[in-house]
Amino acid sequence: MPDSLTTLTKRVLFSPLSDPRRTETVVSRIRSAITLGIFANGEQLPNEIELAAQLSVSPVTLRDALRVVREEGLVRTTRGRSGGTFVIAPDESNMRQFERSLAELPPIELRDLLDWQAAILGQAARFAAERASAHDTASLMSTIMLLGSAPDAPRARRANSRFLIELAASSRSVRISRTAVTLQIETAPHSMLVFRDPDARTETFERGQRVVAAVAERDVSAAHERTLEMTGFVGDRVVELHHDLSQRMLEPEGAVGR
């Protein structure tokens, strides 16, 4: 059987659902995978039987979910021997959906998410400074350069996520790496919103470069501190954005995304 769900991001995203009966839950997972750019434009989704098995849902539920995302314009389906379901790249309308979901997040949950990120990635950076290979450091540097040259929010978000996952992998801990992937899936919609601002991309890139320098110098404390500065910078912008969006939602004519 073709094995197209073996990369960790997809495996986490398509892990078995706790409530496999709800089509909307399946729709939400597939919508997230596409709108975050985890699947590239034109990339083929796993076949229906494989994907249904992965999510622990019935093929009927999956087919219903795919119909919804097809109607939303996120996938197209072709028939025949080389047929299948193919991803259509998201556009600006997805940003409004991310804004709505961020605005609906209670402030205490947002803070909790950022605290979890700081705990995991801060410690990952400490281990990385102690354990990273020269190859790890070179790879971190080339990935952060992708963030520096990213021309738009989706590519900046992808480079940022890849950088933080590589940093976690440099800790040589599989559990920390897997947690970093889960974290990226949860925080990616928020960082995507922040990276619409080119200045935010530049600021994050510069902080990322300082993280790589600390890892290369095996400066454990600096790696920890600079990783918190990098993720904290994006986190603070997310919190400010959340505040603005929540305020706008409270205004009678200012509902978000209208």
Binding site: T6, K10, G37, N41, R131, S142, R162
Partner: protein, 242 residues
């Protein structure tokens, strides 16, 4: 230490190096078999992306045999081809993997616009094979876009008419391999097997698990490296800690 015991120690280290080489010989001969098949196909003009289906058919029985015969030591095997790379013209990867008793072809994502992009040309095992004279073994490391797990990868350049046309490689099961190598090392408790960055491949020191660098351990325990002994695996050395 008297001169006699010193000589005896060196003789037994030769035996240890031979034991490590015997372990490496299994995977080396598998990868040489894949490389021979690749060279033959290249000479016959059937090699590269335009004949990927034919290549998959030709390499599959060989790779599945490696996975089945060497279970549980080897859990992934395959090759990368590189033809006319200077022009960026033709490079790709064929890979088979064994997971939970199921052996299947693995399809990586080679689109740089995807989160799952597997950039094998910049991977450690690929670069190590190109730089090595013979078998290279890298890891344990976390292959974040490949296996997503702790991995040790053995790799070997594929040559045809004096030029490199690709790399044959095998992912080794980290638990099995590090335990096997640690058991080979057991009669020499002061010796640690490390890679070219002094990162542990196998050891019998409780605090020196595979994948860790030796330097922080030396600092914490006030030990030092007394001697270094070469092995036949590219980049691997034995360190004697005192």
């Amino acid at each position: 230490m008297t001169r006699d015991t010193e000589q005896a120690g060196e003789a037994s280290i030769d035996g240890l190096v031979a034991a490590i080489d015997a372990w490496a010989e299994g995977v080396r001969s598998d990868l040489e078999g894949i490389a021979r098949q690749a060279s033959t196909m290249h000479e016959a003009g059937s090699f590269g992306g335009r004949v990927i289906d034919e290549m998959a058919v030709r390499f599959e029985p060989q790779c599945l045999t490696v996975l089945v015969e060497h279970a549980p030591s080897v859990d992934g095997v395959g090759l990368v081809w590189e033809v006319g790379v200077e022009a960026g013209s033709d490079t790709g990867m064929l890979w088979w993997r064994s997971e939970s008793g199921t052996v299947a072809r693995k399809h990586h994502v080679f689109n740089p616009e995807s989160d799952s992009f597997y950039d094998y040309r910049n991977s450690l095992w690929f670069e190590a094979a190109l730089a090595a004279d013979g078998l290279a073994v890298v890891g344990p490391y976390i292959d974040a876009w490949g296996t997503d797990d702790h991995t040790i990868t053995a790799s070997l350049r594929i040559m045809a008419n004096g030029a490199c046309i690709g790399v044959a490689a095998a992912d080794m099961n980290v638990s099995v391999v590090t335990a096997t190598l640690a058991s080979i090392l057991r009669p020499w408790p002061q010796l640690v097997l490390v890679d070219n960055e002094d990162r542990v491949v196998a050891s019998n020191f409780a605090l020196l698990s595979a994948g860790l660098r030796v330097a922080p351990f030396l600092e914490r325990t006030s030990r030092r490296v007394d001697s270094r002994f070469a092995t036949t695996v590219d980049g691997w050395q034995l360190l004697r800690l005192v």
